[in-house]
Symmetry: D2
Subunit: 342 residues, 4 copies
């Protein structure tokens, strides 16, 4: 038995831990061989692979990134993509495939498995934690810890200068990183994509915080949007160098707060530091267990499934079902956290 492994989509702490879990258990307990495909679906599409054995996975547990590389290549959008993948799998004598990735990567795995007879098992990966069917995804806890530590540091700067600090964190469609790090960091306002915000309400919270002689921290998901129809960035507008303007919601909101409250406001965009580097202990634990259970699914021939966390158990769910819907922040939870606003 030879099993292929690939990692697709954005960088996420814990990818190497998954790979190591798969290979350690697959080799030691089941005697499998492994082929690592490079750069997500580009690997099987172009037949680009490396050998994956126990020496190859030594020492990678604490390392961020992925030793297999990643890409956003989607074989469903490539001419003869599926045929080429099947040919390359046959050529490499790969009998089953484990795909580690987000919605897009797993969507391909579901199609291959359900419609084209390629035995696939999925491992969910989204730093935004917005995948249904699993309580948490690895990488998320690391991102939240990094964002929380940054917010901790920003408090003292805010207090010393009595300024508003707006912190923009990851989260295009779901506010999980914002709500977790904002609560953990003691933010005074948390804004998420699921709940369009009212700038005047934000300003009221900011003002109330100053009245208590403290300086406010506003945590905002990159995908959060104002209620009142204000455009945050004009898509396609060009700056003086002819480049498309990249203005995020954080920068825009800081300016609006300054304009409406008269208080100085600054923005910090945490960006890529949230998704690189060594994984937290929880993410190493979760990612490793995902790897161990994914190879068990292969062993049992349980294809078309994805491993998932439920409470403290690892379970299996159909990939197609798991990726059908985004997991967003429940209004009830947002409301619960709202007691700390202002």
């Amino acid at each position: 038995m030879r099993v292929g492994v690939l990692t697709g989509g954005g960088d996420c702490p814990g990818l190497n831990a998954v790979i190591r879990g798969i290979v350690r258990k697959g080799v030691q307990e089941y005697g499998y061989d492994f082929t690592g495909f490079r750069d997500g679906w580009r690997g099987p599409l172009e037949g680009d692979s490396i050998q994956l054995d126990i020496p190859a996975v030594r020492g990678i547990l604490p390392r961020g990134g992925t030793i297999l590389g990643s890409s956003r290549t989607n074989p469903l959008k490539v001419d003869n993509g599926i045929r080429r993948i099947k040919e390359n799998l046959a050529k490499s004598e790969v009998d089953a495939l484990i795909a580690i990735g987000g919605e897009d990567t797993l969507g391909v795995a579901a199609t291959l498995s359900d419609d084209h007879g390629v035995p696939c098992v999925g491992v969910p990966k989204t730093i935004d934690n917005d995948l249904s069917a699993t309580d948490y995804t690895f990488g998320f806890d690391t991102a939240v810890n990094i964002a929380t530590e940054a917010i901790d540091r920003l408090h003292t700067t805010a207090e010393s200068h009595m300024r508003v600090l707006v912190v923009e964190v990851m989260g295009r469609h779901a506010g999980w990183i914002a709500i977790h790090s904002g609560l953990a960091g003691g933010a005074n306002v948390i804004l998420i994509p699921e709940q369009p915000f009212d700038v005047d309400q934000v300003c009221a919270w900011v003002t109330s915080r100053f009245k208590a002689s403290y300086a406010p921290i506003v945590v905002v998901s990159e995908g959060a949007k104002p209620k009142d129809g204000d455009m945050v960035l004009k898509d396609g507008s060009l700056d003086e160098f002819g480049h498309v303007r990249l203005s995020g919601v954080g920068e825009w909101l800081a300016k609006e707060i300054e304009r409406r409250t008269g208080k100085e406001a600054r923005t910090t965009v945490l960006g890529h530091v949230q998704r690189g580097g060594t994984p937290s202990a929880f993410d190493r634990w979760l990612a490793t267990r995902f790897g161990l259970h994914a190879i068990d699914a292969v062993r049992e021939g349980d294809f078309g499934k994805m491993v998932a966390l439920r409470g403290t158990d690892i379970v299996r769910v159909p990939i197609a079902q798991a990726t059908a819907q985004l997991k967003t922040v429940d209004p009830k939870l947002y409301n619960e956290v709202g007691v700390f606003f202002g």
Copy 2:
């Protein structure tokens, strides 16, 4: 309505976050007043309390320890303990009590609530994560992160000198910290109280690791015990200064490994650093939500209950039931992790 709050038992990162959550929601949403009892059950027993209001809980979210102090005082073992508590609660006009603590502290709360008509709500606290009815307790994630970071650091020392390093972590009756930090830190052997260990098997794993040209890290719970009846420490034995000898399993095991394998071995006892200091983001999140839900239970008159984590939800369970049984590491889980031994 006036609510009393107390924290009992050992130190645990997140205690202050619970207190803050209770007070912020209780004051802002329900208009309650709060009395903070000092040093666990000693507070209501002796009528020793401080005022708990919003200014008192400002800035405490990231701080370890507890602003209320703690103790292991057990009023059930004190003459007229319960009567004195009831008198002091009456004197302070406290209508309900939230007790944050482990098995012992919560046991008192259950007795008071179930048998003596003192309305109590419990919040579970055990750094060892060994309380049934909740997926996780706060403080545990912080301890695991600290232990994992220490193991990460010890790897390079082990490699540079080709020594065995034995790391003793917390866990008297359950191996949760050992198994989580050992897996996350890439330990080569993990020993837990639930599974008496065979020293020769440990030595075989150690030797096999050296054969692969790496140096082994052995993670051992303070409560782990050897299979073969060797005494780890002789209770009551005195050293040359007339003090009771304090020799832990880690130190003992390192000596045994040296003796049996001929390899140099060293011990690191992580000790109290695992339970102090700022909580991780997850522990701040969990502890805060426990606080918010505990005051909701008071609001709803749902006494004799304890808040608990199930998946991502906070639920309520009868205190008496939750503390009836220790949550230990399932042999199946220990076996799952065993693939990384040696």
Copy 3:
């Protein structure tokens, strides 16, 4: 004897450690009283102060920011500023003043001391480390550690996606943070204000790094400028919301690298996280010793002087002389570090 203390200018980890050092030694060894002026020179200008005694400085050593607050108020630019300060000092019965701050704050102290008979001692503070006469200033080591940790994290993201990552760090006029964190973080290009850079040379280094199958990290001081006369940002230009455009050198450079090399490039602006939060051990050591030596200078009546680090010794230098010239990165040192470029 009553001594006034104030902190001026930007936030910097270690300010509280200085204050604590001054007060602990002043009270315990010399029996002095202390007045803390709020928000830099605004405090003595407006007679706004708090009491500074031993309880007031308990627990502040590990905290970022300043318990006294800060501002950029310059009394030399305020009508009757010096007269008002002298009146308020007399009213508060303050006999001497310790001013903790950068070039501007210390410049005022020098003028007051040298020209107006107000006995002042200075403590240098600049997170950029660009003050002559001292080997290091506190806060700098913390900033370098934070930037280095961020660069460590960004490496794995860069590698996983084979992208260029541009990291913009603090340093308006001097490249100390960039050169220290860039070297420590293993950056492939470091650009500093002292050395206008050639974008084509940067692109050559970037390309050479990709040829070695690695992804480049470019660390750039916020004050670095290209050689060839390209404008990084057009001062005064407005964006579509009518706000002044804030485009930093990092964002601009990433676009240029993309345009010239065809490789994807991303920017991370570390911003305020570099200057907030708990100080590193070195900064706590240095800041505390600055405080201890500043109060000794007061005790000895050695006014108009500033404390400074030389090797491992704390010495005193005339404030006016110390602030006369910016400490910039020596071309020889930049050249030494250049062996790691590309």
Copy 4:
């Protein structure tokens, strides 16, 4: 030109950074070849070496330990040690040697260079920072940061339970780690090998701290000794398992404090975690520059010298002179820090 490199003595964060600095500059700027000898002086003694080139030093900057391995082998105590080294150097065509290590390792290098015509350059390494002629050695800053973070965490545990916490840190002959981490961590007592301590004085400080309603932290170097002739450990005494007893000063002191003050006291021995793992930014900077200057010394034929830090400059000093005397904590500095005791 072929240059040999070796690392001797105890583990120390920054060793890999030195090696990388040497190789990067040696290869790129001077076109040298390199031979890495394994496990300190054992390497050239037994002719055990690996190839050192640019690929071999990629990615090692942030890693603790040493890719060359280390040992305490002393060729001066081995039959024909020097002759065998000279033969092996000749056989490997090594023209000069860079020895990175402490007093012992450098002592051999001095002898080889001064008395036996083997061209050697030294790089000082001692985590204890106790080597004369250099302001700081790499690894020390990392150890101090780790110890300080541990002390930060222990404060909250001490406060919550009103206990004495004794923290034993590294430092056999010099108290640098204790004095730096103790000051930075806000310890209430710091005990160092240079100043035999009076247990009653320690108890007085402890008691005074409790009177102020705080719990004391006592930081003690492993090499600190009581004044009054009490034996801390009886060399050669055996415990109940027939092993030599290992009781450190920390454990002993905690018991004495308990006995004399009646307060509960606990010990934490930080141990090996202080010397493993990723180096701090300062240590990476210092270690890298030591490497760059060591290869410059080889280039200039300046043998028998050791690189050293003076202020912010790297200088060269005769090895023999640099190792002649231990650098201990000046009583004046200890006294300066004493203002925070009690």
